[in-house]
């Protein structure tokens, strides 16, 4: 057919996982490169996934009393410098504005790499009394980190994210909220994105610059590498002191509040791709898929077929589904491949013979399983199949995670397992940063987290042999 473009081939993931990933990003039209190295364009199909993530997650934030705000893009250099650990961590990655129009600025401004300093400056203005607490703010925005390397969704110089910042009267309340938000993220990943997570605490070496404690959810990708999918930080009153944020407590004393921050980014989309995708392309979790159902009429030139397809489309849209009818003149083969590439969870095929029998065929993206359904039961059947797709995706990913967590007792063993199988290696650890550096040096793995679900694997550290009280997960991470 003259007008028909071919669905382009992508590299098999077994041949070259990194190339497969890039192929999917490009060919499913999620993202494009800009003329600045490391800065990407979010195309409509990729951005729509983010919009769906935002819509669902924002409702969860609002349920726990979080309000959205928008803080400035630019941070004056003196403001960034107020908290020492924080500036040390971020300054090397800051992009600096030094000119306004044709004039050199008196002070240079950094484009926000994260906004703790801006929120703290504002908190100092608006927090006066214990009645102003807790204060729970969030913003959806882009941030900029001038990194050397980049990869679509996983590492951008500019990326989209949300950053929540809260202030609490007591340390305990702030700690609890830090964990609560980690659980919001974990539940979101599992229930919405069908991505199982491991919850735990980052080591001091891996925690956020300026935080007292960082909690993390770690996911396992199809290539058994780790992806840090979301983090939640407890700050104590360190920033509050540096920024002179105080409130009058019930005993009329001026004291510092306690702080948290937490964020997820468009990196989640990278996680979706690498958790669920296959050699036919993207596989999208139904709850965030821009198109949940695609209707493909068979022999659509035959009388009544297109009209019937349009009616099915209208019915599914009325049921609240994101549905597309493709009545273009591309071949059925092309269309099937195209919507598989785009990861549409469910395909509805309807041709003259089906329609005569008052039925149509649903095909799941995940396993191409075909289900014949009566037309009058379409809506219920579609919702059921979408739920099955979600469950199937979650179970497959959970199996991948569970089957690739290995136990090791020596550095050499850990290294051998990583080389052989990848995955997470669980060991005992003494808590010493030197042992983390050694693991990295010898086995190429960083610590992923000290999981909340601890197991007793022994009494000595995998690296130094000294007494060890904690079980830790190691892995090769994106």
């Amino acid at each position: 057919m003259a007008n028909e473009k071919k669905v382009e081939q992508i590299t098999d993931m077994e041949v070259d996982f990194a190339q497969w990933f890039t192929d999917v990003c490009k060919k499913a039209q999620l993202i494009d490169y800009s003329s600045i190295k490391g800065v990407f364009i979010y195309r409509p199909y990729g951005y729509a996934i983010w919009e769906n993530i935002q819509n669902i997650m924002d409702k969860e934030f609002k349920k726990v009393g979080v309000e959205n705000v928008y803080m400035p893009l630019l941070i004056p250099e003196n403001l960034l410098q107020k908290e020492k650990d924080h500036v040390e961590g971020f300054a090397p990655e800051c992009a600096w504005v030094t000119m306004g129009g044709s004039e050199k600025l008196e002070e240079r401004y950094c484009i926000r790499p994260t906004s703790e300093t801006l929120f703290c400056e504002h908190f100092a203005q608006v927090i006066q009394s214990h009645r102003d607490l807790p204060l729970k703010y969030n913003q959806w925005c882009s941030v900029l980190r001038w990194e050397k390397t980049s990869r679509p969704f996983l590492r951008h110089r500019e990326f989209l994210w949300q950053e929540g910042h809260t202030m609490h009267a007591t340390a305990q309340e702030a700690r609890d909220f830090t964990e609560q938000m980690l659980n919001v993220y974990a539940d979101f990943c599992e229930n919405v994105l069908a991505m199982p997570v491991t919850r735990g605490r980052k080591t001091d070496k891996e925690k956020f610059n300026g935080a007292e404690a960082t909690y993390t959810i770690e996911c396992m990708m199809h290539d058994r590498k780790a992806l840090q999918a979301g983090t939640s930080h407890y700050f104590g009153d360190g920033f509050a002191k540096a920024f002179d944020i105080t409130y009058t407590d019930k005993n009329n004393q001026r004291v510092n509040p306690h702080q948290t921050s937490w964020g997820v980014s468009t990196r989640l989309i990278g996680g979706i791709i690498m958790t669920h995708g296959d050699n036919n392309g993207l596989v999208l979790p139904p709850k965030v898929a821009p198109i949940q159902v695609v209707i493909l009429p068979v022999a659509q030139h035959k009388p009544g077929v297109l009209e019937a397809a349009q009616e099915l489309r209208a019915r599914l849209a009325a049921a609240g589904l994101r549905v597309k009818l493709d009545d273009s003149d591309n071949s059925m083969g092309w269309k099937c491949a195209e919507y598989e590439m785009k990861g549409v969870p469910l395909r509805v095929e309807c041709g003259p013979r089906d329609l005569e029998k008052g039925q149509c065929v649903l095909v799941r993206r995940t396993d191409r399983e075909k289900v014949v359904v009566k037309l009058e039961e379409l809506e219920a059947a579609v919702f059921q199949q979408l739920e099955l797709v979600h469950q199937g995706m979650y179970q497959r990913a959970k199996k991948n995670l569970d089957e690739h967590i290995y136990e090791a007792h020596t550095l050499e063993e850990a290294k051998a397992i990583q080389e052989e199988n990848g995955g997470f290696i669980k060991t005992m650890w003494c808590g010493d940063e030197a042992c983390e550096r050694k693991m990295k040096e010898v086995a190429g793995m960083s610590s992923r987290c000290v999981p909340f679900n601890q197991e007793h694997l022994g009494d000595t550290c995998v690296c130094c042999g000294k007494p060890a009280g904690k079980m830790i997960y190691w892995g090769v991470a994106y």
Copy 2:
């Protein structure tokens, strides 16, 4: 009462309109100043208005086939320079990034003041065939313009907006779409924000840098100054040529597509404040008010009152309304003043005597009119009152607009009317830019637009006396 803070006084608008405006912005907690001159913080209550604007407007965009994307924040200098008129207009207001980490960049990057250049670079990649057209993209983001003066919502160095960018096969289709989007804005202002608008075309002097034609909606504020509330631009194929964007048409020829862009910003919130506000504070259009209904229990310590109020709250929330119950221990007087300051469209008062009679009292923010309603009819009554609030706001604003459009035939007359009454002055105009400059010089007015609804007021230009075929609106603008 010890815990009770007073609702702070604001300046009367008749005393000092500018100060009244700033007072409302600050005391209704819409916005705050940051430590960078001209850069503001959108606080939760102000940002929530913007979220409501976004939600409603985004649905309208999607109805006409617009897809959201996200383009980079930074524009390489050489990219900005590709279209000559465009760069001349924007370069003086650009903030420039010159350092990445500790390294000086090879090329400097401007923070987007608007994104035509970025969209064009991308369009050149993705547009190949007539089958790729029309392409209708939009993004919600912030932009930066390094201006000298600033005022909350009206002129920020950084502000939130949306910018739509579309490409079409023919000039006619692009022109039509430019007007279609202007009408989307106009309808939104009138139907959602209760702000009547004047639709028209900008003069060449006032049009967007690089556009062939700019269309505008102009609103009249309470002080009878003009606010440009939204613009829609037709570009022809000027940018397409500069950026080498071509497509293969049906005759297999490579030709340039035709372009539009269109935008509104958080300036709309400034328009809401100055159109509807009064000396008690903000008055919010019900459709975008973060709190549409506030429930204030009277004598809430009496048995059953709080429970009844909570039930009313739950019922209104279930009906899809944004409702707040204030059961704090602040006095009734304080609460009434507070929610008037915040512009909440409708107040529900319920006390023991009302509840005994199975009724409650609704009070409109606009005119403090009280309506007693039966509890069982609450939802319907609330929707009806909110509609009446909207209608009342629109009619009051429309009266202000209609009563302050004056006709003038000489420069002196125009000047005298503006000094005496403010408002829009309509005159005939020859089309010469020199006459626009003269009007500005003599009467302090800029041209607002050549309205679509033309009237024949005479045959000669108000400034030079030469033959004139167009009626134009002049005004003092924000």
